[in-house]
Amino acid sequence: MKRLLELLKDGNSRTIEQLAAELGTTPADIDRQLGFLEHIGAIRRVSFSAQKTCGGSCKGCNPAECRGCMPKNAAQNMGEMWEVIKQH
């Protein structure tokens, strides 16, 4: 997992398959690593879709609380994305 995080520091995004290839392991192993990294708060899933707070209308919801507000039906089949959380 250290190597995974290290790899991403070059700024390039990668798919799970690419990570598996570069780290010489299987996509299933990468899945496991992502699960753990998410759990300890080293990475987080990027959520583009509307959050529960505003029901997706995004009218009058507080942008500071509501982190994702894509319109309804937009970006349905975009897969998943994780971003690395900067450690301070």
Partner: protein, 642 residues
């Protein structure tokens, strides 16, 4: 024999299935004391004994230290007999995996069984394993896990501090790892039980020691070691599909997706053309209706409003709808089959070069539908400067309304060359975004070290045509009603403004128009088109209303006024436009409205997201200026061509 059984496991591992099958109707749901976490408990009898079961919240994907996790791990920490159920045996079999439960059992020191929670016949095995675990009081052998942990910096030292005075109920190993993981709950617990000096010591050791990632690696190394030799047939190397090998290629990826999008957009003209034909038919209706009304003695003003405003607008809107339908279909299809996700992957690096996060691609893609959606979508970007820049660039992406009007106008003016115009507009859009990023980027974003993202691309799949068409038709319908309102209103207002009673030249609008024309012609726009450009700031469809009113109404450009003196009402708007607007002017106009600010609603949405009047105004002014500049350039290039 009797016992309380706690079910521990990851979400979706089948705990609820097992719980329900065991307890049947004898279960109740409550809350854990003092927590808002659901507690599921139930009982079952086996061989005359009653057992109770608790279904614990899945422990893994919950964030560390959440209520759920603390409840679950308090159970996990208990020194109770346990056994391991490897669920979904049927799935493993299907995947051609064989699992040697006995080998795992030997390494772990607890009973291990293969199981299918959905198979009612498998439960006898469950009960017998349960009995076996209770009889043998089996405990997990963690010595090999500890061997891994001992490699961690600071592990041995911290454990030594905890050896004699650890809070009861927890093993020193577990506590030590939690300390290294910087676990808040455990830290608080230790502060209650240990003296300050020991705490200080532990804290310094932890700071210099290994972190959560390293501890996790130990855990995985341990698991791998246990599975070594016990699982076979699992190492299936996934091969990338042929398409993905192209799309995710470092060099060919970009041209491949750009080509895909361009071909898609050109293809979107195919469904649009028949609908344009329908629009022209409606246009032809105008003459018949006008003659009929005039024959019936209808006042010229009413006839004009009905025909020049009503029917003419409708004809235009119908023509636009063909493109709304075509473009929505193409983008919907690209998303549905999974290409859209590849686009966001391919342009991730480009975002970095613009000083943006990879996430910014999504607001851009959404902006093809509606800039407002793009602005709201930029909310996922935490950094304010990057958010402002993302929205500023998203404005350059032609929105749904632009996609309706621009191909339609291009087809009217340039016929078969229209797709070429669209391609050029898209290329200019990319250039525009690049320059805009350079213009605003310096102030908004600092070059900070960027971390790549991890993407799980959705698998390609065949589109669900039914759902896709329902979506596309829904969008087309929505657009129709929205656009028809704006176009009719704008058209009526401008038509009336330009209605000069007897002569067109007497209308105020005409006077103002001709007065400003020397200036507007500098950017290649005759006064009518310039007013349409201004109207397009309100909403792109507004431009169509203005064109309809000013060209099909009574105040034509001078040259045409003469032709109109006869029975020339027959001429349809296409011909009127072609007769009055030169191709360079048309090209200038198309560029001007494409790159004008998207609409007032998008302006408001932008302000709502970035909370800065200064930057909202800056971006708006910048777009108005660049639109006119592009218009000027297009006009002069057009003059060279035609």
């Amino acid at each position: 024999m009797s016992a309380t059984i706690a079910l521990l496991g990851q979400p979706n591992s089948g705990k609820s299935t097992l719980f329900n099958a065991l307890t049947g109707l004898r279960q109740h749901v409550g809350n854990w004391p003092g927590k808002t976490v659901e507690k599921k408990e139930g009982t079952f009898t086996y061989k005359g004994d009653t057992y109770s079961v608790a279904d614990l919240p899945g422990s893994y994907s919950m964030s560390a230290n959440s209520d759920e996790e603390v409840i679950t791990r308090d159970y996990a920490g208990l020194e109770a007999p346990c056994f391991l159920v490897l669920n979904m045996e049927d799935v493993a079999k299907e995947q051609g995996k064989t699992i040697d439960a006995a080998a795992i059992e030997k390494k772990l020191g607890i009973p291990v069984m293969l199981f299918s929670a959905t198979d009612m016949k498998a439960y006898d095995k469950f009960y017998s394993t349960l009995e076996r675990a209770l009889k043998s009081k089996s405990h997990l052998d963690v010595s090999s896990l500890e061997k891994e942990y001992e490699k961690l910096g600071g592990y041995a030292e911290i454990k030594e501090q905890l050896a004699d005075n650890a809070p009861s109920g927890y093993t020193p190993m577990w506590l030590t790892v939690k300390v290294l993981e910087n676990d808040k709950v455990v830290s608080a617990k230790l502060k209650n039980t240990l003296d300050d000096k020991t705490i200080k010591k532990i804290e310094t050791l932890a700071k210099g020691g290994a972190d959560a990632v390293a501890a996790g690696e130990c855990k995985f190394a341990w698991i791998d070691e246990i599975l070594q030799g016990a699982v076979s047939g699992s190492k299936s190397v996934t091969k990338l599909g042929r398409l993905d090998r192209i799309y995710t290629h470092r060099i060919w990826g970009k041209p491949a997706v750009v080509l895909t999008v361009l071909l898609g957009l050109i293809a979107s003209f195919i469904p649009a053309l028949p609908i344009m034909g329908v629009g022209s038919l409606v246009d032809m209706l105008k003459t018949a209706v006008a003659t009929g009304l005039e024959g019936a003695g209808c006042p010229a003003l009413v006839t004009g409003l009905l025909c020049d405003v009503g029917i003419q607008s409708l004809s235009f809107v119908i023509k636009m709808l063909g493109f709304v339908f075509g473009v929505t279909l193409v983008f919907g299809l690209l998303e549905e089959v999974g290409v859209m996700a590849r686009i966001s992957y391919v342009f991730d690096n480009t975002m970095g070069k613009l000083g943006l996060q990879g996430k910014s691609v999504m607001p851009f893609l959404v902006s093809f539908g509606c800039t407002m959606g793009g602005a709201a979508g930029a909310r996922v970007i935490d950094n304010w400067g990057q958010k402002v820049l993302t929205i500023a660039l998203a404005w350059a992406v032609p929105c749904g309304a632009a996609w309706a009007i621009i191909p339609m106008l291009s087809t009217v003016f340039f016929g078969a060359a229209a797709p070429l115009i669209i391609v050029v507009l898209l290329l200019v859009m990319l250039l525009h975004m690049w320059i805009t990023a350079k213009v605003f980027g310096a102030k908004l974003v600092k070059t900070e070290d960027r971390c790549g993202m991890i993407m799980e691309l959705p698998p390609y799949h065949k589109p669900k045509w039914g759902a896709l068409f329902r979506y596309v038709l829904g969008r087309t319908k929505d657009t129709f009603f929205r656009v028809v309102k704006v176009v009719l209103l704008v058209c009526a207002v401008f038509w009336l403004l330009s209605y000069g009673g007897g002569s067109d030249e007497s209308s105020l609008l005409y006077k103002i128009g001709t007065a400003i024309e020397p200036v507007t012609m500098f950017v290649g726009l005759p006064w009518q088109l310039f007013i349409a450009f201004i109207a397009s700031s309100v909403g792109k469809e507004g431009a169509v209303g203005v064109i309809t009113a000013l060209y099909s109404g009574t105040s034509y450009a001078q040259g045409f006024a003469e032709a109109m003196s006869g029975a020339a009402r027959a001429a349809n708007l296409n011909e009127l436009l072609l007769a009055n607007v030169t191709r360079p002017e048309a090209l200038a106009f198309i560029f001007a409205i494409t790159f004008n600010l998207p609409c007032v609603v998008a302006l408001a949405a932008t302000y709502q997201e970035i909370h800065s009047v200064k930057w909202t105004a800056k971006i708006a002014l910048y777009y108005t200026a660049t639109a006119l500049l592009l218009s000027c350039i297009a006009y002069h290039i057009g003059q060279l061509i035609w």
